[in-house]
Amino acid sequence: MATVTATTAPRTALPGPLRHPAVGKLLLLAVVAAILVPLMNARWASGSWPHELTVDLSAPLARASDWIIDNRDSHPLFLYFFGYLSNAVVVCVRAVYLVLLAAGWAGVTAAAGLLAWRTAGVRLALGTTAAFLACGLLGMWVPTMQTLALMVVAVLASVVLGALLGLAAGLSDRTYRALRPVLDTMQVFPAFAYLLPVVLVFGIGVPAAVFATVVYAAPPMARLTALGLRDADKEVLEAVESLGTTARQRLLSARLPLARGELLLGLNQTIMMALSMAVIASVIGAGGLGDRVYQALASVDVGAALAAGIPIVLLAVVLDRVTGAAGKGPGPGGRAGWAGWAYAAGATVAVALAARIAGRLDWSESWTVRIAGPVNRAVDWMTAHLYSGVPYVGGTADWAGRFTTWILDPVRAGLQWLPWWSVLLVVAALAWLIGTWRTALTAVLAMAATGVLGVWKPSLDTLSQVLAAVAVTLVLGFATGIAAARSDRFERLLRPVLDVFQTLPQFVYLIPVVALFGVGRAPAVAAAIVYALPAVVRITTQGLRQVDPAALESARSLGATSFQQLRQVQLPLARPALLLAVNQGVVLVLAVVIIGGLVGGGALGYDVVFGLAQGDLATGLVAGAAIVCLGLMLDRVTQPTGRRAKKGA
């Protein structure tokens, strides 16, 4: 049922002029299908993906993984390359961790507060200090420092790697053309897909976590560095060239300073993605806050999960605000700025020493507030009273159950019942209608790849969750977005909420949904909806608000009602933004649906978790590859026509 709505919805959303090419494309596709489908059906008549077309990779993958495990301590590649890398990472993280511990809670809090004060002002400094103290109060000081130590190393590495790649891509067209599709594609992959390859090479542990984080967090830095260097005001660069600068002078005195905004935005995004990944990487041995959440979720201990989740949230908000403020602020100050930094550093050292002398290096146990117990009691109460049997509205577990029975199950059953070729056909049709034949081809190949990998059924299971979550997200998101675009007051109310929600790592969304809905596929879908909603709302609102005011004014002057304005002017003109919202929604939903494997979401996400937990890397790697394919397919299907290609030209 939902598949039918999914296929027709984008088509009706197309405005009139686009209908003709659309019909042409569909006809052509129908002809191709009419020739190919009977042939395929005759050869591989099967509802599910035909067995003859799968390639069993688990045996070779298992062999490869065994080989790596056997040779990790003896093969030169590991001894002299990966070994060094991994040792270096361990040493770095350890060193940062020891420095943080040596500075003590007082020193670290003072340093963070003063850093925030220098870059973002007094209010954020107070907020930062409060956030760090809260981490201590919750009894999470040591895990917070573990996460922070990992973050510091991973962010530094990501920034260096990203900036270098970005510099290369910003200065050389050829590198840019080569790098850009890679970076674009990496951005649509769910975080989970990065875990297994690094585990294969480095084994479970801190190095794997750091490398997964770096690989995940470096692309935004690279993208934005390249973008900043390329989008610099052409006339300024020409003026600078006209004064006889050398290429080096141009880079240092003009291009990099001009790209300052993008560089700092890249830093901000890299830090946020690194935090998100550092938390998820607890699955592969990163200690710290993520690990506490992971362990707590595994035993459905919502109170403990919340105690570790709150510091993650606080850390995310503080990091985002401070780095964001640094990007928006004025340029680097003169000598006064340096003096301020010197004072800040001095004050930090003083506070750290004072705490040391006072013997208050470690956070005192007596100062912690144990929230796990009360929270768990509250959750128990909720379980008893809200889970089910609430008169008229039903309980949360009832909703989850009904959602599973009435929506998730039929969609999954429908998808798995569909002949495999018709799934490919629908993918091709959708991708071609919205995008170009290239995106359609990529989408079909990616979808077929999941079949070839032998995980057709779990992929469709994941897909069904994604479709259901995306449908709900879009309905809620478009409605909220339209409301926010029409009412300034509503938008003002909504903005801080969106700001906070958009900065949170994917992982923490699992905590409240487990509290509310227990475990299963419905909570995974709910987490995905909550995670993707802010982005969809924001893009929709911005798209609607950026509609040419002159067009809107002329519609109003012709006496259009506000509904007519919305339907005939705003929505059609905001179509690119709406398509982008769909695209983003799909990508974000997929990321969390996969992580939902940790809370009983099943399907591909579970395969990855299972593979990691059982040391069965082959299963995990196949699932990871399928996740990548699914991500690629979903992104290409919803990728608006040539938009990315044009931006690059």
């Binding site: 005001d233 006339e235 300024v236 020409e238 003026a239 600078v240 060239e241 006209s242 004064l243 006889g244 600068t245 050398t246 002078q249 005195s253 003009a254 300073p257 001009l258 300052r260 340029g331």
Partner: protein, 359 residues
């Protein structure tokens, strides 16, 4: 100055010959092939996929003059001025500065040219937003490796010269458009270039500010006598500033001459249409409007220098009621009377000989 010893005073600063700039695939075949070279822009694009922005242009810029390149948007004038210092690499032709071949320069020599001999002022200013006014003006000197104290001192003098005292520590974003262009002008002047290149410097400004800035340029030129190449799409600006004007259309120079030559004797219908609304009496001089004087006229009547404008003559003739004499030294060259002056205003007056227009 040392430049003067290098070249004779009347030698051209810039000498351009057969210059082509073609954008597009295999651009270099267009200038050399007479078949392509004669095509219209639309045909050329259709046949080769190339766009010829500058087509076979040649001119000399003399020392100390204001040479205006004038044309509508897309006529190739901005490309042309960028070719002079190879900000855009020309496709064919020769460019010489003080007799030295610009196209043959290596990178270091070209940087030298840009650093010391030709500085440019841009339409959208091209200021560095992260630097103060003073540091923007000092930027050219910084590039040359001038020490911090010295370059700031020299820059401060130029900031004052363009009338921005007290604003040294502001950022470009805190300035108005006119003030920003003054910074751009000061930056170009600060490196003491032999030639100043202007690329539509005032088109982004309000009309009143634009007039101020034009007067500023006139003043600077009067004070320093620096050679200027000035690109504009504004005819009145061209007429006001230019000693000579090259009028461009579709990449070609359709007419090159004094403002009077262009207004008084347009080379073709395009130029005629272009200058139709120009108040001729303010551009034409009595030298072109006069006729031979009779003996009695040569003896009496108000006297005017030969380069007085017709509107000045009208004023004199209206005041005295008699024809005005055009006097060069003590010699009477001719007279202008009501009839002659009215013909100029009506646009039916005599046209100078073709030979005169290249003057």
């Amino acid at each position: 100055m040392s430049k003067d010893t290098r070249t004779p005073a009347d030698a051209p600063v810039f000498s351009v010959e057969g210059l082509w700039k073609v954008f597009g695939p295999k651009a270099e075949r267009v200038p050399t092939d007479p078949e392509f070279a004669s095509l219209s822009p639309a045909e050329l694009r259709e046949r080769t996929g190339c766009t010829a922005a500058v087509r076979d242009v040649g001119f000399d810029v003399r020392k100390g003059e204001v040479f205006v390149v004038m044309g509508l948007s897309g006529s190739g004038k901005s490309t042309l001025v960028r070719c002079l210092t190879r900000l855009i690499e020309p496709t064919a032709g020769t460019i010489a500065i003080d007799g030295e071949d610009v196209r043959a320069m290596d990178k270091a020599r070209l940087r030298e040219l840009r650093r010391h001999r030709a500085a440019m002022v841009f339409q959208h200013f091209g200021l560095l937003p992260h630097r103060t006014v003073l540091d923007n003006v000092a930027y050219g000197l910084e590039i040359q490796g001038v020490g911090r104290a010295e370059r700031r001192e020299r820059a401060a003098a130029f900031v004052a010269k363009v009338g921005l005292e007290g604003m040294e520590q502001r950022r470009p974003a805190q300035l108005s458009g006119g003030q920003r262009q003054r910074v751009g002008l000061a930056r170009a002047l600060a490196v003491d270039p032999e030639v100043l290149l202007f690329d539509e410097p005032f088109s982004a400004l309000d009309p009143l500010i634009r007039r101020d800035m034009q007067e500023e340029v006139v003043r600077l030129h009067r004070e320093e006598g620096r050679t200027m190449v000035f690109v504009t799409h504004d005819l009145s600006e061209a007429l006001k500033l230019g000693d000579r004007i090259a009028l461009m259309r579709d990449g070609r120079v359709v007419q090159l001459g004094t403002p009077e030559g262009i207004v008084g004797s347009p080379a073709d219908d395009y130029v005629r249409e272009f200058v139709r609304d120009v108040p001729r009496e303010q551009v034409m001089t009595v030298r072109t409007a006069m006729r031979a004087a009779t003996a009695e006229e040569a003896a009496d009547g108000p006297a005017l220098p030969p380069d007085a404008t017709v509107s000045e003559a009208i004023e004199a003739v209206a005041r005295t009621g008699s024809p005005a004499r055009v006097m060069d030294g003590g010699r009477c060259l001719g007279v202008v009377d009501h009839d002659r002056l009215l013909r100029v205003v009506a646009g039916t007056g005599h046209r100078p000989e073709p030979g005169e227009k290249a003057a």
